[in-house]
Symmetry: C2
């Protein structure tokens, strides 16, 4: 990879549009959903008790107004936004090196699950051999999903270091080309197409139903978009797309469990945290933010802030989405919603900056790859 400070300059809204033209035939335009119930719940102040033990204890709970627009990447192919980046990276690789070389050498990646399935699908669609290194503790459905696309699955330990060692070993034997899971220009551009669709669908929805603004369903100005931050490819891509649209602020969301909020902590000290070892239930968000992604996310003109939530808050948000919206999401998918519902610091910001009119907020549900057993284990 070239120097991240140089590479980041090529990350422009135009690059996202170019990625979209390339991948459009291969991906789903996922729906943008609204929920009056969730708007109401999020626009109700938290109970004073729920602020006990936080820096906001004893203060009056914030009174933000939220109108949500949920970008449902759980309905994307392979059940997660990762299909966008994987198709884009592979299509670019074939364009640059020629199909013959890519087909002969094959591709390889490491991933806790969704990028694994995404690359397996992209590779089988484009007839490229694929090796996928997965942590042995990955969700069984994600392992099965990866295998079902004909990819060769190899297991590793769960830290980035352990995974990367196994990747290097296979590359030495096969000459397979690495498609990184998140810290990569083409991956970021692919994931950023989520924002391109979200923005277009938001304007269609608000335009189509002008009467809805009366009921608080959309003002025509998308004030904010919030996405999960794991490796940071999705957040960096979304931030890149909105970088020339000053009306829309982009935010990131992380689990706080066992230091999974590496990006938020890095922003506090001004230095990227390069190593994380956490078993947060948000299993897609256990990795540290990538180097190139950090360049985007730590640019305050692109990402306005990153906020963290507890495991209990992630579960509460997941329950609301399953029970009230009737939409199946994985824990990683709802950290953005959990921030809106429960992070008092963020809620004060929305109350203050949004005022009485409040904010139209795009919330990216990043994926839905869970099982009934996993839901049972979480809530049983």
């Amino acid at each position: 990879m070239s120097d991240p400070k140089t590479a980041v300059q090529a990350l422009t809204p135009d690059a996202i549009h170019a990625a979209y033209s390339l991948i459009q035939p291969y991906i789903h335009r996922t729906p943008l959903l609204t929920s009056q119930t969730l708007n109401t719940i999020a626009s109700t102040p938290q109970l004073p008790e729920s602020l006990l033990g936080t820096p906001f204890e004893g203060q009056t709970p914030a009174t933000p107004t939220f109108r949500f627009f949920f970008k449902c990447e759980n309905y994307q192919r392979i059940g997660a936004f990762k299909a966008r980046g994987a198709f884009h990276a592979l299509l670019r690789l074939i364009a640059e090196r020629g199909k013959e070389e890519v087909q002969r050498r094959g591709v390889i990646t490491h991933s806790s699950g969704n990028h694994a399935q995404a690359l397996a699908l992209a590779a089988s669609t484009l007839s490229i051999p694929a090796h996928i290194v997965m942590p042995s503790i990955s969700t069984p459905s994600k392992i099965a999903g990866t295998r079902s696309h004909g990819a060769q699955v190899v297991f590793s330990g769960s830290t980035s270091t352990e995974r990367e060692a196994v990747v290097a070993d296979i590359q030495a034997k096969t000459d397979a080309i690495l498609i990184p899971p998140y810290d990569d220009f083409n991956i970021i551009c692919g994931q950023g197409t989520t924002a391109l669709e979200l923005e277009a669908q938001y304007h269609d929805l608000v335009k189509e139903k002008p009467q809805l603004s009366v009921h608080g369903q959309g003002t025509g100005v998308l004030n904010a978009v919030i996405t999960p931050v794991g490796g940071g490819g999705l957040n960096a891509g979304v931030a890149t797309f909105f970088s020339d649209k000053t009306a829309t602020q982009v935010f990131g969301a992380e689990p706080s469990f066992e230091g999974a909020d590496d990006c938020r902590r890095g922003l506090q000290t001004g230095e990227r945290v390069g190593m994380v070892k956490t078993l947060t239930i948000a299993d897609g968000l256990r990795t540290p933010v990538g180097v190139l992604n950090w360049e985007v996310i730590s640019d305050r003109s692109k990402v306005a802030g990153v906020y963290a939530v507890s495991e209990e808050q992630i579960m509460a948000a997941m329950r609301l989405v399953l029970e009230r919206m009737k939409v199946v999401v994985e824990p990683s998918a709802v950290v953005g919603l959990a921030v809106c519902l429960f992070n008092e610091e963020f809620r004060r910001r929305v109350a203050q900056e949004g005022g009485e009119q409040g904010w139209d907020v795009g919330v990216v549900f990043s994926g839905g790859n869970t099982t009934v057993e996993a839901i049972g284990k979480l809530f049983g």
Copy 2:
């Protein structure tokens, strides 16, 4: 109620259209979804092992082709199709008796859950007091949902007889007007609007995406529609709507557990089964089919057949919908899909009548009112 044989003559497609005009402002036009994954699974023959112990043991498994169109009434208001019937019955009552009388006397019903929430919502929307008799073993989320609309909840035993005794007692005291949960002309017409939307959306979908028919996504002829049968209001309403459209056959689906397949058994003997006591996981389908509904469903020119599935088959269908479609449904909602996936008698019929081209099948997902705890209990 008037004589069912007379009342049934007024059950016409025009009556469904009239109901739709009345309720349209109050209900959601729920989405019609497709799933290539479920089409593929259902269009794969069952394993010979899965026919062991059935009348089809040792025979070659059927090779039907299904293209599904899922009418998602789990996304209806209160999370189930019951909102349609409840709004229709209450709007008609107000039109006939005048708002003053209905407001003074109030309304009452008994229901295992979804009709309860539906009438509570309709009553609160139209400012009518409501008493709801619910079995004490109802799903807690359904009880909470009913109460959240301001209705007075009274508990009873779980059989129809026990419920009706409590209703009579409250009526004696309050003069409240009964809105029956399913065995009622206006309820049937309301539920039938599900079919009206389904048919229109099917034609929009197939017309909009003509290329899809190449990939087996819709021929333009809706060959069949299958719905759950509990009290039978939904199935009777859907059959009424399609009664003048001979290209579309209507089917019913029931759980077989502890005799919950009362309608199927009644059709075999030619006589309605009036009493059922079952604790099938499909808790919306524990009641016997109503008298008026029976008149419709037992008319072979309206309903072409009713098929039953086991608890395990309902769970397997529910798992596929949650994990593969990422859509939250309650067990009652998936009995129609379970019949398509697992009932070999029905699958042979589709293979035989549909031939190589197969069938376009509308499948009504009747509701999605479950909880993460209930999912955990089922699959944990």
